[in-house]
Symmetry: D2
Subunit: 319 residues, 4 copies
C-alpha cells in the first residue's frame, strides 16, 4: 500500500512471539497484529529492535515479516526493519523485504565497524537507490554506537534519500533542533522536506515530541497497550496537551514493568523484552513469554510483578 506522506501516528515495533524451541509462533504473532490494529494503530514496524530482530535468523525474519503483512492485510502500512552491520548485508534484507511486500524499509547506520558520517550518508543513499521503497533512518546510538546528527538527517531528507526518521537516540534536544531546522511546528509541510516524517522511539516523552512537532511514535510498550498511545496521539492532535500528558504519565507508570528483572542477572534488553512479552502472555494475546537465546527468562516472581503492574494500569490479565 502507498505510505502516507508524512507517515504519522502510532506505529508499534511488533514483538515476535516464539514457540518452545525458539521458532516463530505465527499464530500468536497474528493475534498480536490484530490486537494492535484493533487498538487503532496507524502502522506496524516489523523486525525492529523490540521485535528481537537481532536474534532472528534470516529465515525467521522472513517468516515474521510475512506473518505481519498477512495479518495486517493492508489495513495499515507495514515497515520492515533491515538491520545488519553494513550496506551489502542490509541490501540482502532490503531485497527480501521488498519481495515480501513491505511498504517501507527502516535501516540503522552501520555498526560493528567504526564508521564516519560521510560513510553513513553513502550507506543510506546506496540503499535508497538499490531498492525502490521509502526508506526510514533508525537512529539508535545505544545499539549502533553512533548518532545521526540533525544536519546529516536534514541533508538526506532534503535530497529525497529518506522518507523519515525513527529517532530512538533519546536526545530530545537534538530532535528539537532537527524539527526546527525542517520548519518547526507550523512550517514543516512547506519547509525543505515537506513529506518527511519524524517519529520518536522515546516512548516516555511522546507528548513532548508531538508538542515539538513530531509526526508519530514507535513505542515498544505500545505492544501491550496500543489504545493508550492512540488516545495520547489523538489528544495531542486535538491540542489537548493536558490530556496527552495524563495519558503519557499512565504509560510511564506501566513502563516500569521493564525494571522487574533482577539487574545483576540479566541484560537490559532481556529485561525489557521479557516484560513486554510476559505482559502480552498474561493478557492472553500470545501463547508464551519466551525470549530468544541467549537472553535469560524472567523469574516467576518477576512475571507476577508484571501482572500486578498490568492490573494497576487497569489492564486485565487473563492468566
Amino acid at each position: 500500500m502507498a505510505l502516507p506522506a508524512p507517515l504519522h501516528g502510532v506505529i508499534p515495533p511488533v514483538c515476535t512471539p516464539l514457540g518452545p524451541h525458539g521458532e516463530i509462533d505465527t499464530a500468536s504473532l497474528t493475534r498480536l497484529v490484530h490486537h494492535l490494529v484493533d487498538g487503532g494503530v496507524h502502522g506496524l514496524f516489523a523486525l525492529g529492535s523490540t521485535s528481537e530482530v537481532a536474534y532472528l535468523t534470516d529465515a525467521q525474519r522472513g517468516t515474521a515479516l510475512e506473518t505481519v503483512l498477512k495479518a495486517a492485510d493492508g489495513r495499515v502500512p507495514v515497515l520492515a526493519g533491515v538491520i545488519d552491520t553494513t550496506t551489502p548485508r542490509v541490501l540482502d534484507h532490503a531485497r527480501t523485504a521488498a519481495a515480501l511486500g513491505a511498504d517501507a524499509l527502516v535501516a540503522t547506520a552501520p555498526f560493528y565497524t567504526r564508521t564516519h558520517p560521510r560513510e553513513i550518508a553513502a550507506h543510506f543513499r546506496h540503499l535508497r537507490t538499490a531498492v525502490d521503497l521509502p526508506l526510514f533512518a533508525y537512529d539508535i546510538p545505544v545499539a549502533v554506537h553512533s548518532k545521526l546528527s540533525p544536519p546529516l538527517v536534514r541533508e538526506l531528507a532534503e535530497d529525497g534519500t529518506l522518507a523519515g526518521l525513527k529517532d530512538s537516540s533519546g536526545d530530545e534536544g537534538s530532535l528539537r533542533r532537527l524539527l526546527v531546522a525542517l520548519g518547526g511546528r507550523t512550517a514543516r509541510r512547506t519547509g525543505p522536506a515537506p513529506g518527511f516524517s519524524v517519529l520518536t522511539g522515546s516512548e516516555l516523552t511522546v507528548d513532548a515530541a508531538l508538542l515539538a512537532g513530531a509526526d508519530g511514535v514507535v513505542p515498544g510498550i505500545g505492544n501491550v497497550d496500543p489504545a493508550a498511545y492512540v488516545r495520547l496521539y489523538d489528544a495531542a492532535r486535538a491540542g489537548d496537551w493536558e490530556q496527552a500528558a495524563a495519558e503519557q504519565e499512565r504509560l510511564v507508570a506501566l513502563f516500569s514493568m521493564v525494571d522487574v528483572g533482577p539487574e545483576p542477572e540479566m541484560g537490559r534488553s532481556s529485561s525489557a523484552l521479557g516484560a513486554f512479552k510476559a505482559a502480552l502472555h498474561l493478557l492472553g494475546v500470545i501463547d508464551r513469554g519466551t525470549t530468544a537465546v541467549p537472553q535469560r527468562p524472567l523469574s516467576e516472581e518477576a512475571v507476577a510483578e508484571v501482572g500486578r503492574r498490568l492490573t494497576a494500569a487497569g489492564l486485565q490479565p487473563v492468566r
Copy 2:
C-alpha cells in the same frame, strides 16, 4: 533569603565576564545580573558550568559569587555551584558559599574518580549535614561521567537530603520517570517529597519539561534572552502549550549560535560559552566576550555570525 519550596521558574546559570587578563570583570557581571533580574528571572545560579566554574580559581569563585549576591540584592534567590571532585573539596566551597550568603548549594556527583551510587548518596548526605543550606543535586553526566538514577534522586528527596535537582543529563525519559515517581503532574505536592524542586537544564526542551511537571529551568542561553524563557514559563503556567512551544522554537533557533565556532579547532564548551559571551558583548551587557584559558576564542567571522543570529531573533546588537 528563604528559598521558595519548591524553587521554580527561570534560574539562569550566570555567565562570568572576564577582563583582558582573565580577571573577573565585576562591573560587567553586575550589569549581567541586572539584565537577568530585569528580564524577570526567578533566581540565579552562580558558579555553574556555564559560569565557567571549572576555569575559576577559588579566589575568582569568591569574587564572582559576592558580585552576583550584591547585584541581586535579595530580589531573587542565588544558588551557588560548589563544583569539585569529591566531598572534602566540595565542602570547602560549600562553607565559603554559605559564609558569603548564598541561598542554596548546587553539587554534582564526584568526578575524576570512579564512583558508585552508594558513594554518591553518601556524598550528598555529608554535604547536607555539614552545611545548613538547601542542597540541589546537579546531574550532568557529560561532565562527571555518571548519571543520577531516578530511584537514587527519589531516595535523597524523600529523606530531605536534597531540596531539588538540576537535571542536565539530557535524558528526558529518565526525568519523566522521576517526576511520575514523585507523584506526577497533579500529585507532586502531596507526594513523597512535596517541596522537592525539579529543574531542567535542557534548554531546548523546556516546554516539554514543564508539560511533564518540572518546576523550572536553568538555561545557559537564558543569559542572552532571559525574558523569552520567562514568557515560555508563563505560557506554560497558564496552560498555553502552543505558545510555550512557539517560544521554545524561537529559542532553539537562537541557540544555533553555539555552532558558529569551527568544530575542528575548538571544544564544544569553548564554542557554546564563546557564543553566549559574544552575544552578551554584542548586546552591550558585558564589556568583552573573553573566555577563560585554555579555551580558544571565537573568530571574528564567528562573532559576526552570532550577531546575525541575534538580529534574526529580534534582539538588537549595539556593537
Copy 3:
C-alpha cells in the same frame, strides 16, 4: 585438519580482495593465502574484522571461506569468523563454516543488543554444544561494546567451552591477569586449562604479549608482511627478546600506514583496511585495493604514501 592444542604462532586475519563491482576476487584471495603460507604463518583466520566480514553478504562469506580453505589446502589450519549479532544468527554461520570444512570457529559476544556476562557465557556454550568444532572467543570491545572479563574467559576455558581467545581488546593488563590466572608463563600447560590458546590481536605489542606468555598473534598488518611476524615469533620462542622487540619496532613503523587516510573524511576502519589493501595491491599480491561499500577509498596521494612506507620498511612495491 586437527588443530594444535594450544593453537600458536602467527595467524593473520586474511583480507578479502574485491573486484570492481564489490564481488570476491577469488584469484587475488588465493594469491594472498599463498603469500601468507609462504611467509611461514601457522594458521589463517578467515572472515575476521580485517577480512571485512561485516561487509560481506552470507554468499560472499561462503565464497571467501571456501577460497581460503582451498588455497590453504591443509597446510595450515583455517579458523572461520562467525560474526553476527546473537546466538541464533551466529549458529547459521557456524553450521555453514563447519560444512565448508573450517578447522575452528571464532565468535564475538552478542552485539547491537545490550547484553550481560551471564548471557555471553550462555551464548558461547550454546555455540559449542551445537557445532562440533573448537571455539575461540573474539574479545573486541571496539566493535561489540562489551569486554570479556578474565574470570569469564577462565570459566569458559576451564569447562572446555572455549579452545582459545583472540584478544583484540587492547587491554593488556587484563590479558596479563588472565594469563597469570591460567598458570602464568611457566605453568600454563599444567594449569586449569592446559590446551587453551591465548592469541593477541594487538599487533603493535606482540613482543610484550609473547613475553607475558601468549601463544600467538592475529595481526592485521601481517597480511602485508607475514614473514616479519614469523621472525618476531621465532625470536620470542628462542628467548631473544631484544630481537623480538626490534622486529616489533619495525612493524610499528610500517603500521603507521593506517594514518595516511584523511581523518576528517573517512572512518578509522576504512583508513586501516584501505591501507592494508593498497599495500597488498602495490606489492602485487592482489589486483585491486578496493574496500567494500560504504567505505570511502583512499586518495591517490594516500596510496602513494602507503607505497613510500612500504619502501621505507624494505618491502618492494611492484606498481
Copy 4:
C-alpha cells in the same frame, strides 16, 4: 634537586594515610616514604590519583606534599601532582607545589569541561611558561575522559613543553607508537626529544613497557612492595627479560587484592585504594587503612583476604 633527564626507574604514587577524622596522618606518611625509599625507588609521585588527590582539600594537599618532601629529604626527586579541572586552577596548585620545593609537576588534560587537543596543548604550554619546573603530562582517560594522542605528546616533547609523560591510559599500542616516533629502543636519546621521559602507569605490564623502551613506571601497588618493582626494573635494565617477566607475574598475582572489595557495594577506586591502604596497614607501615570520604571502607572479611594475598606473595603482615 635537579631531575635526571630522562627521569627513570620506579616512581610510586605515594598513598596518603589518613587519621580517624580524615586528616593527613603525617607520621604514617613519613614512614611510608621511608618504606619506599628504603625499597630502592628512584623517585616519588606525591598527590597522584593513588594519593587520593581528588579527595584532598588544598590545605591537605599542602600538608601531604610538605611531608613527602621532608621525609624524602633529597634522597630521590619528588614529583607533585597538580590535578584540577583547568589551567587557572592547576596554576594555583603548581605555584604552591613550586613554593614547597617540588622537583617537577604532573598535570592532566582539563576535565569536567569538554575540551579539544588544541586547547590541551595550550593548557600544557601555559603551565610550563608560568611555573619554572619540569612538567609531566599525565595521560589518564579513565579520569579525565580524553586521551593524549602520540602526535600531540611528541609535539609537546619536541618543543620542550613536557619533560615526560606518565601514561596511565592502558593503551599500550599507542604508547608503543609514541616510543617508536621518538626514536625507538635504540635511538631515543638521539631522537627528536632526547631527554624526554616515558613512564608507564600500567603496573601489570611494566616488563612489556620497559622492553618497548619506556624509562620507568609509576605503580600504585608499588606502595605495598616497592622492592619488587625495583627488582623488575633492574632485571629489565640488565636485559634479563625472563626474570623481569617473572617479577611482573608475581606482582600481577599480588595486585589481585584490588578485587577483594564487593563490586556491587563500592566503586573501583575505593576498592583498589582500600586494598593498598589495608595492605600497608597490615604490613605495619601506616596506622590505619582509612580512605577518604565518600569512599566506602573494605569489610573486615575483605581486609582479611588482603592479608592472605600478602602472605601468599611472601610479604609478612604484622597485624
